[in-house]
Amino acid sequence: MASYKKFVLLRIPQVVLTLVGLSILIFTLVRFIPSDPARTAIGPGASEEVYQEYREELRLDEPLHMQYIGFVQDIFNGSLGESTRTGNDVAVDIIEKLPATLELIALGFTVAVLLGIPFGIVAGLNKDRLPDHFSRFVALSGIAFPRFWLAITFQVVLVSWLGLFPLTGRISGAAPAHVTGFYTIDSLIAGNFDKFTDAVWHLILPATALGFSTFSQVTRLVRSEMIEISRADYIMTGRSQGIPEWMIAYKYMLKNAFSSTLTVLGFRIGGMLSGATFVELIFNIDGIGRYTLASIVRLDYNAIVGVVLVLGVTYLISSAIVDMLYGYLDPRIRLEA
């Protein structure tokens, strides 16, 4: 256990260091561009006074390192600076937009895992036979088709032609009373089951479009895991002792399938967060992806820095957690670190 502690303790400063690097990187990136952020924010025709006010608020007249120190101080006070587009603190904006995106990602992951594990197992157990070829083709499609194409094609086929799902939005009619911001959870808290099913119904297409590439990676990984394990000594031993095949698959293989799925999820969180931009745009969902896009298009500096920082932190923390879980499950990983 001592070595595990050491493994975790080594990992934490790494994450912190990368975080500091990340904040410096994005901070400088945003400040090194040709246009004047204050001018962009207020638009043409504003008075010189308003302009100076904005410059002061964005600390643009201070030297770069002082700007950065001020920015870090603000973070410790729970602020990411004011968004020039919405007028709110960026932290407030992000907290407001995040639930819609997290809801999408959660369901996207669920779809990916529920489809990916069985596909991977069937493919792995039938290596080089028809089911294997079929599921590999489907898995490759998950990589080849852009998310935005999937989302639009779902709208064409499943909404426009077949009329099975709502076209856009998160819910029909009014949103449930705000508690968490997750419409699915809020509607359950309000005890309104109709609203809950309606919210889930709205989520299915965007979540599937978002999770499809993760599904294909889960399939790939579970498949190769299956092939590797079925050759392992302990499985051979089990077989020779007459343990039934379904029991082997259930007891040993499934367990491994889950732990490999875990890594995929850790790696995919970044891709899911950014991929949400397409899905939110196409399905008209007011989440963090659309917020990012709007901030970039309008050159909203504080918002860009804030959003990138939050996405980076989410990615770093989730991959560190996956590393630690993995190190816990498989002692060999610890030795390599």
Binding site: L17, T18, L19, G21, L22, L25, I26, L29, V30, I33, P34, L140, S141, I143, A144, F145, P146, R147, F148, W149, I152, T153, Q155, V156, V159, S160, W161, L167, S213, Q217, G270, G271, L273, S274, G275, T277, F278, L281, I282, T292, L293, I296, V297, L299, I304, V307, V308, L311, G312, Y315, L316
Partner: protein, 303 residues
């Protein structure tokens, strides 16, 4: 004497030929690899000969007759294989020209990423110590931002166009080659032929170019083939969001975006150009997977 030398040389050549033959038969043994190759070749063919194959080249090249207002949103037919868009332009012709944009963008972005990332990875691997720590930590930092978001920020802050989107993609992608090359250098640095060169007093950069570089070209090229598809996807994504190539350039991502307003009425405007993206990505992926098996190298696949 010369007879012995000759026979040695010819046997060496025979060995080389045998080797190539073996690689070739391994390459063609896998149907999927062959399919991938055919797809990639067909995309390159379309890009080169677009002006000759496209039924309405003027709809993609702009200028006189680049729109046809009498033929707006025409359904796919024998006259317009993929229908027409809201300016009456033949979508099939524009998709063919789109191959030019995608391949051009992918080639330059890959070249940029490999030269910057590869050089830094080589230096990190050869020098080690603090140099390595600084380079690899910097790469980690760039990698902690999702590829799409980093590319969006860079493209948005500069000016969204074809050339900036190549740079925007490379700002993320160099890290992958930095990592790959650094790892490869590490794994062969201790080999005898490298040690021998160093013992002879060669400076590290000489050893790197003479002994290390030839040994890491294969994994880099295999990864580049697989990455080609992903870079095309990423660039199309930028185009779709309005942060990449700008209309009226026939970029595949831009074309999908333009059809969004007609999803309920004219399904072909968005969906058919998107198929071109998927087709190309399939091709590069299958080809890359095949090359990986043939040369028996291990490379990570990142998206």
């Amino acid at each position: 004497m010369s007879g012995i030398l000759n026979s040695e040389m010819s046997s060496e050549r025979e060995e080389q030929i045998d080797n190539l033959k073996r690689l070739w038969s391994r390459f063609t043994a896998n149907t999927l690899t062959v399919v991938g190759t055919l797809i990639v070749v067909s995309v390159i063919f379309a890009a080169i000969f677009a002006p000759y194959i496209a039924p309405y080249p003027q709809h993609a090249e702009g200028g006189v007759g680049s729109v046809d207002n009498d033929n707006r949103l025409a359904e796919p037919s024998t006259e317009h294989l993929m229908g027409t868009d809201d300016s009456g332009r033949d979508i099939f012709s524009r998709v063919l020209y789109g191959a030019r944009i995608s391949l051009q963008m992918m080639t330059i972005a890959l070249t940029l990423s490999i030269s910057v990332g590869g050089t830094l990875g080589l230096v990190a691997g050869m020098k080690g110590g603090i140099t390595k720590v600084i380079i690899m930590r910097t790469a980690d930092t760039f990698m902690s931002i999702p590829a799409l978001v980093l590319a969006m920020v860079v493209a948005g802050l500069l000016e969204p166009n074809l050339y900036i989107s190549m740079v925007a993609v490379s700002v993320y992608w160099w890290t992958l080659y930095c990592r790959l090359v650094q790892g490869e250098v590490n794994s062969i640095k201790e080999e005898e032929f490298v040690e021998a060169d160093r013992a002879l007093g060669s400076p590290w950069y000489n050893t790197a170019v003479k002994e290390i570089l030839p040994n890491i070209i294969t994994p880099v090229l295999v990864k580049a083939t697989i990455d080609a598809g992903f870079i095309i996807l990423l660039a199309a994504g930028l185009g779709f969001l309005g942060l990449g190539t700008q209309p009226p350039t026939p970029d595949w991502g831009v074309m999908v975006a333009q059809g969004r307003d007609f999803v309920l009425t004219s399904w072909w405007v968005s969906t058919l150009p998107g198929l071109a993206i998927a087709y190309t990505v399939y091709g590069f992926n299958l080809l890359g997977d095949g090359l990986r098996d043939v040369f028996d190298v291990e490379v990570d696949v990142n998206e």
